[in-house]
C-alpha cells in the first residue's frame, strides 16, 4: 500500500514499533549512561595520561585507572557522560565547582589533581585509591561495630573540613567511601551530585524529584527529596547517619527501624547518636559533623580506667593499641575482599598476621605437633582459618603423617576457601585452591570442592554471558562430567544452577547422572534438591526407579509428611511410586496416599498416564481403584466435566 515507509529522523532507518519520528534504537541509546563509542581503551592516551583499565561505571560517568608518566604515579580519571557537554550551561558550572573540589585537601578525601575538557568530554583526574569501596564490605557483612566506630569519626572530620570550605557532598553512600590496602578511608566524588544534578537549572525541579538515576534514595536526607535546591551540609549529616547505621547493623534504617543496639551488640549510647543524625528535620539533627565525631569518639573511650599492662603503658596509650589491633583485624578481613592483596607476608606493609593470632600455650610442650594442633583448633574456633591453616601447614611439613594435623588443615583450608568464595566469588576461591591442591597432597579431600566450584562457575558463566553462550550448555555439561567422572556432586552442582534458568530436561538428566554415580544416602541436602527437581518437573516412566529410591530414602517415618508434600507437586505420578513404598512399610497413610495420587492424576493434566497406570496394574489394585472412583463419583467430588470420562474408566475397571 504505502510506498514510502516513515523513516527515523535520527538514523534514517525504517521506523519500528510506532514511537513517532524516532526509531526505538535511537531512543534507547539516549538512556545509556555511557555509550560504547565513548569508552576509552587501554593504551589510549587521554589528556596526557595513559589509560590502563576501566575501574567502574555509573550514572556519574566512567572511571579509569591511568598512568601519569612524568610523575610515575597511578591516577584515576573520571570521565563524565558526553551528553553533558551538549548543555551550554554545564561548562560554567563545571569550571566553578571543579575548582572548589580541587581546592579540598584532606587525608580522608580523594584528592582532585586536575580537571578539564577534552574532545567534548569533561573529566577529573584524581588520586588513585588502591583498594575497594565500602559497598562490598557492607554487602558481605564484613564490618564489625568496633571497626565502624573507628572509621566514622575520620569520615566526619573529612566532611567537617569540606563543609567549612563550603562544599557539601550530597551523595554520601558506601560506594563513595573508599578504603585502601593500608586501611585508610577516603571519601570520593565530593560535590559531583550537585554538579551533575539538574536542579541547578530553573523550572525543572519537579523532574529532579523523580530523579532516582543520580541519587541514592536510601541515603538521601528527606529534604533532598522535597527541595533539592535548599539542601545544606546537614543533608550530609543525615546520609552519614544512614551509613553509620548500616555499618553497625548491616541493615538500612528503613521504615520503623529499631535502634542499632537492638539489632547488634553495641553500646547503647550509639543509638542516640545515630538517631539524632537521622532526625527527619534538619533543625533537630546534629548541626555539625564535628559534634557527631566528638560523640562517637567519646563512646569509643573505655568507660573507666581499666588496668593497663606495663607493656601497654610503655608503648603508649591504650587507645592506640586497641586501634592498631582493630586495624590489623580489619585489614585481614579486607584482605579477602581486595583481590591481589599481599596478605600473609608479601612485600610491603602487610602486617605479620601471627602477632594477632592465638598465643602459644605458656608451658613448654613435649609434642610440638600437638601444640600446633591445639593452636590451630583455637584459631579455628576464633574463626581465623587462614592463620590456622598457615601454622598447621608448616607443621605438616615437619610431621607429614600426623593425621590430626592433616584433618585440621583440611578443615582450616576448607573454611578459608569458603571465606574467599563468599567474599570474592568462586573464581577467586579456585585461584587460591588450585596451587594448594597441586602442591599439598594432604588437601586431596578438597579436590571435590574444587570440581564443584569449577562446575558452578563454568555453568554460571555460560548463563551470564547470555543466550548465545547458553546454547553451549549441553556441550559444557558433558565436558564437565567427563572432566570430573568421580564426583556425584558435579552433576548436582550443575543442575542446581541450571534449575534457576528453567531447563527441566537438562536438570533431570543431570540428576539421573548423579544417581548413576551413587548419590550417597547420607547427603540429605543433595537428596532434597534432587527430589524437588523430580517433583517440579515432568518425569517419565524411566525415572520410576529413581523415584522409588527417593521414596525409600524419604518415606522414613519422620519425613513422611514432608515427602508427601513434595511429591504431590508432581501431580500424582510420583505418588503412585511412593505409594508402593508406603505399602511396603505398611504405613497407615498408604491408603490415603494412593487415593490422593489417583485424585491428583485424574484432576491433573496427566490423565492419560493415570489411565495407563491404573488399567495395567494388578487385579487388587484395579479393584481398589474401581471402588475409589465409584465412591468418588457417588460423593460428587468429581468435576462435572470429568464424570463421563471417569464413568468410562470405572466401567473399564469393572471388566
Amino acid at each position: 500500500m504505502a510506498t514510502t515507509a516513515p523513516l527515523c529522523s535520527k538514523c534514517g532507518s525504517a521506523l519500528d514499533g510506532g514511537s513517532g519520528d524516532v526509531c526505538s534504537k535511537c531512543l534507547l541509546k539516549l538512556g545509556l549512561s555511557t555509550r560504547d563509542d565513548e569508552a576509552l581503551q587501554p593504551g589510549q592516551v587521554f589528556h596526557g595520561l595513559e589509560i590502563e583499565r576501566k575501574l567502574g561505571a555509573g550514572g556519574m560517568g566512567v572511571v579509569y585507572k591511568a598512568r601519569q608518566a612524568n610523575l610515575e604515579r597511578s591516577v584515576a580519571i573520571k570521565v563524565l557522560p558526553r551528553a553533558l557537554s551538549e548543555d551550554p550551561e554545564f561548562t560554567l558550572r563545571f569550571m566553578r565547582e571543579a575548582r572548589a573540589l580541587a581546592a579540598l585537601n584532606h587525608p580522608n578525601i580523594v584528592a582532585v589533581y586536575d580537571f578539564g575538557e577534552e574532545g567534548g568530554r569533561y573529566f577529573f583526574v584524581m588520586e588513585f585509591v588502591d583498594g575497594t569501596s565500602l559497598r562490598p564490605v557492607l554487602d558481605r557483612k564484613a564490618m564489625t561495630a568496633p571497626e565502624a566506630i573507628k572509621i566514622v569519626p575520620m569520615l566526619c572530620d573529612a566532611l567537617e573540613y569540606a563543609h567549612a570550605e563550603g562544599v557539601v557532598h550530597r551523595d554520601i553512600k558506601p560506594e563513595n567511601i573508599l578504603i585502601d590496602k593500608k586501611g585508610r578511608v577516603k571519601i570520593a566524588d565530593f560535590g559531583l551530585a550537585k554538579l551533575l544534578d539538574k536542579t541547578g537549572s530553573r523550572q525543572e525541579t519537579k523532574m529532579t524529584q523523580t530523579n532516582v538515576v543520580m541519587g541514592t534514595p536510601h541515603y538521601m536526607a528527606p529534604e533532598q527529596y522535597e527541595n533539592a535546591k535548599s539542601v545544606d551540609h546537614r543533608a550530609d549529616i543525615y546520609s552519614m547517619g544512614v551509613l553509620f547505621y548500616e555499618m553497625l547493623t548491616g541493615e538500612l534504617p528503613i521504615g520503623r527501624f529499631p535502634p542499632p543496639s537492638q539489632r547488634v551488640q553495641v553500646d547503647v549510647r550509639l543509638d542516640e547518636i545515630v538517631l539524632r543524625a537521622l532526625e527527619k528535620q534538619p533543625e533537630k539533627r546534629y548541626q555539625t559533623m564535628g559534634e557527631v565525631s566528638r560523640d562517637v569518639t567519646r563512646v569509643t573511650r573505655p568507660p573507666s580506667k581499666r588496668a593497663i599492662t606495663p607493656e601497654e603503658a610503655k608503648s603508649g596509650k591504650w587507645d592506640s593499641i586497641g586501634y592498631a589491633v582493630m586495624m590489623v583485624a580489619f585489614m585481614l578481613a579486607m584482605a579477602v575482599i581486595v583481590k591481589g592483596w599481599p596478605w600473609g607476608g608479601g612485600e610491603g606493609g602487610a602486617p605479620d598476621a601471627r602477632q594477632n593470632g592465638a598465643p602459644a600455650p605458656a608451658g613448654k610442650s613435649e609434642d610440638p605437633s600437638a601444640e600446633i594442633a591445639a593452636r590451630g583448633e583455637k584459631l579455628l574456633k576464633e574463626d581465623q582459618p587462614s592463620l590456622a591453616f598457615e601454622i598447621l601447614e608448616k607443621r605438616i611439613h615437619e610431621d607429614p603423617e600426623n593425621q590430626k594435623l592433616r584433618a585440621l588443615a583440611v578443615q582450616a583450608a576448607g573454611r578459608h576457601l569458603e571465606h574467599i568464595v563468599e567474599m570474592q566469588g568462586r573464581e577467586a576461591g579456585m585461584a587460591w585452591l588450585e596451587p594448594q591442591l597441586r602442591e599439598k597432597s594432604f588437601l586431596r579431600p578438597l579436590a571435590e570442592r574444587y570440581a564443584v566450584l569449577d562446575t558452578e562457575s563454568t555453568v554460571q558463566t555460560l548463563f551470564d554471558k547470555g543466550r548465545a553462550q547458553s546454547f553451549k550448555l549441553a556441550d559444557t555439561t558433558r565436558e564437565l562430567l567427563a572432566k570430573y567422572p568421580q564426583y556425584y556432586k558435579v552433576p548436582c552442582a550443575a543442575a542446581a544452577i541450571i534449575e534457576k534458568y528453567n531447563i527441566p530436561e537438562s536438570v533431570l538428566s543431570l540428576y539421573r547422572e548423579a544417581f548413576k554415580r551413587g548419590l550417597p544416602k547420607g547427603d540429605a541436602h543433595a537428596w532434597e534438591i534432587c527430589l524437588k527437581a523430580f517433583a517440579g518437573n515432568k518425569v517419565d516412566d524411566s525415572d520410576g526407579k529413581y523415584i522409588q529410591e527417593f521414596a525409600r530414602e524419604f518415606y522414613k517415618d519422620d519425613r513422611v509428611d514432608w515427602a508427601q508434600g513434595a511429591v504431590e507437586l508432581a501431580g500424582g505420578f510420583l505418588y503412585l511410586h511412593a505409594y508402593a513404598i508406603l505399602k511396603e512399610r505398611n504405613h497407615p497413610k498408604s491408603k490415603d496416599a494412593y487415593f490422593t495420587a489417583l485424585a491428583n492424576l485424574l484432576e491433573g493434566h496427566d490423565s492419560a498416564a493415570a489411565q495407563k497406570t491404573v488399567l495395567t496394574s494388578d487385579a487388587s489394585r484395579r479393584k481398589r481403584a474401581h471402588d475409589f472412583l465409584a465412591q468418588a463419583l457417588e460423593t460428587k467430588i468429581v468435576p462435572e466435566t470429568d464424570v463421563e470420562y471417569l464413568q468410562n474408566l470405572v466401567d473399564e475397571l469393572a471388566k
Binding site: 527515523c8 529522523s9 535520527k10 538514523c11 519500528d16 514499533g17 510506532g18 514511537s19 513517532g20 519520528d21 524516532v22 526509531c23 526505538s24 534504537k25 535511537c26 531512543l27 534507547l28 541509546k29 539516549l30 538512556g31 545509556l32 549512561s33 555511557t34 560504547d36 561505571a57 555509573g58 550514572g59 551528553a83 551538549e86 548543555d87 551550554p88 550551561e89 539538574k198 537549572s201 525543572e204 519537579k206 523532574m207 524529584q209 523523580t210 530523579n211 532516582v212 538515576v213 534514595p217 536510601h218 527529596y225 528503613i254 547470555g466 543466550r467 534457576k500 528453567n502 493434566h605 496427566d606 490423565s607 492419560a608 466435566t641 470429568d642 470420562y645
Partner: protein
C-alpha cells in the same frame, strides 16, 4: 525487597508507579482487592504485546495466540502466580517469559487430555492493532524469544516517550513536545524550528537538551523498574539495543 516508590515523589499522574511496585501491589501487598486488580491492569497494559508477539512467533495461529494471551492474563488475574515473583531473582522480563512458556506447555497438556468447559474472561486488548504491528515484522526465522525481546525494547522506548509527553502536557507544553519530538535523538535544522517556535537557536538547544536528558531519566527509570539494581540498567539497555 524494597522498591523505589516513584509514585510517592512524582506529581499526581505525572508518573506511573514503578513496575516492581505494581507487581508487589498486584501480588496483593496493597490495599485490598480493588487495588490489586488495578495494579494487575497496569501490568497487563504494559506487557501484553511482547507476550503476544512471543506467541505469534511460536507459530501459533492468530486465534490461538489471542486465546492464549487472554488465558494467560486471566490466569494471572485469578490465580496467585505472581506469588512466586521475587525481585531479587532478577529481571521482570525474564520472569514473564518463563511464565508464559510454562503456561503454554501446561495449556497444551490440558488440551491434549480433554477439553474443559468454562468461559474465560475477556480482556479488552487490541489484538487487531498488535497483529498489524506483528505482520510488519520482517518474515525471518526469528525465534519467539527474539520477537518478545524486540517488542519489549520497542514498547519500552515508546512507553518512556509517552511518559515524557504526559509530563510536558501536564505543564501545558504539549505542543512544544510535538515540535521537539523529531529532534529528541539528534538535532538537526535548529534554525527553522527555532523560527517556527519563536525562540532563539541557543534557547532551543537548551530546551532540546533538557528534553533529551529527561527522556534518558524516564527511560532509565522504566528499565530500572524491571531489573534488580541500578547497576543493571546499562546492561539491560545494551541487551535491548542488541535485540533491535
Amino acid at each position: 525487597m524494597v522498591g523505589f516508590e516513584t509514585s510517592a515523589v512524582g506529581g499526581k499522574g505525572a508518573f506511573p508507579s514503578t513496575r516492581w511496585t505494581v507487581v508487589l501491589r498486584a501480588k496483593g501487598g496493597g490495599e485490598g482487592e480493588g487495588d490489586r486488580r488495578e495494579a494487575l491492569g497496569a501490568l497487563i497494559e504494559a506487557y501484553w504485546r511482547p507476550l503476544y508477539f512471543y506467541l505469534r512467533g511460536t507459530r501459533l495461529t492468530v486465534e490461538d495466540a489471542k486465546d492464549l494471551t487472554q488465558a494467560f492474563f486471566a490466569a494471572l488475574l485469578e490465580k496467585d502466580f505472581l506469588k512466586v515473583v521475587d525481585r531479587e531473582k532478577g529481571k521482570f522480563r525474564t520472569f514473564l517469559l518463563v511464565a508464559i512458556k510454562h503456561f503454554v506447555s501446561n495449556e497444551r497438556d490440558k488440551a491434549r487430555a480433554q477439553k474443559r468447559g468454562g468461559g474465560r474472561k475477556h480482556l479488552p486488548l487490541d489484538f487487531d492493532d498488535a497483529e498489524r504491528n506483528f505482520s510488519r515484522e520482517p518474515a525471518t526465522l526469528e525465534t519467539p524469544e527474539k520477537l518478545f525481546l524486540r517488542k519489549w525494547a520497542q514498547d519500552l522506548s515508546a512507553l518512556a516517550l509517552a511518559l515524557l509527553e504526559a509530563d510536558f502536557a501536564e505543564r501545558g507544553k504539549g505542543k512544544l513536545f510535538q515540535a521537539l519530538r523529531p529532534h529528541l535523538a539528534g538535532g538537526k535544522d535548529y534554525e527553522a524550528l527555532a523560527e517556527e517556535l519563536g525562540m532563539s537557536v541557543a534557547n532551543l538547544k537548551v530546551t532540546v537538551h533538557r528534553a533529551r536528558q529527561r527522556y534518558a531519566e524516564v527511560l532509565r527509570q522504566a528499565v530500572r523498574d524491571t531489573v534488580r539494581s541500578d547497576a543493571d540498567v546499562d546492561d539491560e539497555l545494551r541487551e535491548l539495543l542488541d535485540a533491535l
